[in-house]
Amino acid sequence: MSSAATTIKAKQRPGDRVFSGSAVFAGSMILVTLAAVAIFLIVQSVPALFATSEEASILTTNFWDYVWPLLFGTVWAAALALLMALPVSIGIALFISHYAPRRLASVLGYIVDLLAAVPSVVFGLWGIGVLAPAVQPVYSWLVENLGWFPLFAGPVSGTGRTILTAAIVLAVMVLPIMTAICREVFLQTPVLHEEAALALGATRWEMIRMAVLPFGRSGIVSASVLGLGRALGETMAVAMVLSATGVISFQLLTSVNPSTIAANIALSFPEAYGLNVNVLIATGLILFVVTFAVNAFARWIVSRRKDFSGAN
């Protein structure tokens, strides 16, 4: 660009005006939609925030007492899912990017992506029909032998439909997206760094520890935060798998489990009436705010990473 770079304006033809006009309109539609989502949710939520148990039969005392255990359950289930999914997804990403034969890598990546294509309601069916009966004996064993550990305290659930099972299903569901992000970042590691490490005599694992993992650290963090966002908002799998009672409890294996916001909405909404609907919408608004915060945090990490990425 020279200093005299006054931008030359092209002649505006009618076609240009129509086309750029409709493009701007479509772009603004996104702004409008999101604003509408926020406004309609807030408008419908406001009556619920100050409702009492006389006005809305779903409440026992007031709104905040109702939403607090649900919020706890949402975060607790998502955190458990993340705890299980993170090491596995890092392992899969490393396997695909650095261990598997080059020619197989893209096929293996596609197979992992297949998991993302399974609808959540099918995961729900699978969770109840296959996973819960399969893990129930393990739960019984854990309660019998490791019951002194607070998380494993009894009595064990007879169906296996506990929060741990729900978290396992959630972990399987967020695995593909986390793996995809980790894989992308690992593949971007400067080859010179890897080759330098190998040339100095490092084994493959030492090369990964010294070159790949430090380079991919922020990618791993953003992958886990995005996975957390997914897990927070996941509805049907939890609604079907979890037999919830709406308490605050850290115990993983009992039949008394906290519910999650999304699952609670899906289960209660079809029969809700009157102010109960507004209460459920208000819990949805809180879920929206939480996932918004989590996702914004992830984007912030990704954008911060842009400044120092690359081979430097």
């Binding site: 129509v18 479509a26 772009g27 899969i92 396997f95 294509a117 296959v130 908002g233 509805t235 918004f292």
Partner: protein, 364 residues
Amino acid sequence: MTVTTPQEPRTATPIANSLTAGRLPASAPWVILGVAMAVSAALFAIVGFAAGAGFDWGGAIAVGGLLYIPSIWIFSRLVEGARRATDRLVTALVTAAFVLAMIPLISLAITVITLGASRFDVEFFTSSMRNVTGEGGGALHAIVGTLLMTGTAAIISIPIGLLASIYLVEYGRGRLAQGITFLVDVMTGIPSIVAGLFAYALFAIFFGPGVRLGIAGAIALAVLMIPVVVRSSEEMLRLVPNELREAAYALGVPKWLTILKVVLPTSIAGITTGIMLSIARVIGETAPLLIAAGFTQSMNYNLFEGRMSSLPVFVYTQYANQGNPPEAYLDRAWAGALTLILIVMALNLIARLIARFFAPKFGR
């Protein structure tokens, strides 16, 4: 002249350092894996025989795998030293992570196919659930509803998403473009159930509380679909080389014609792939449709009147509201799940094929 001192003959004494330390032969991991599996299988055979139960394949393979990880470490540690042992251990663990992720996928595929096949028949695709209690009945009403609502969502979101991505790539400068990019990111993260609540809230204002309409479901799906379309189309448009645009401008082609005749045809394969994948993503959504469109047992072709079933919601309601006999309801749920998975897989496959065969050839 110069006296050369006779050199000492070289000896081949081994030097003890990690660089020349012994190595396991290339076949060693496989041999150890085989032995571990054999030991585990023998163990399970004995236990199973003693207990009178059958042979537990899953348990045997799992225990064999668990046996392999420490034994390769011990062997490598003895022969190759600590560093290589760690390397082998990590290799085993990383592979185990991949195998672990395959377990749910394979289990899911087997379950859905075996359980779904029993009701995957003609009646399932030709009848609705109207007046059906117990056995029989089908999911035609749900399939029609899914097609109508997903189709409407696609009609709404493809133009908006495509034009918005064109705006972002070709026109967008300054704050509006930044704002839209950020909000698209935000929209990607909207939980699906919140989209359903939004559509419900929107229509409840006009039609009163308790409203359930097919069009509301379509709006909810569109909210979920637009950001995916924008993201993928934007990526594809950015891949179009700038030289193509500049060549068109140099020939005096107006900007809108350049976009229409040069940029879009170059990237149409990628855009189509992205759109197919976004349809595949929303067609399996359950929660927003359960909230906004409800469910019904009868055919409903009208998006603007009455409740409308969809395939995922059909699966859910068949499971959740089991009647008598429950097996009939569960079979229908699994058959619905099989149909759903087949549709999603077909969409994914078509999308990949389009991407592969219609991608522009940039080679010379």
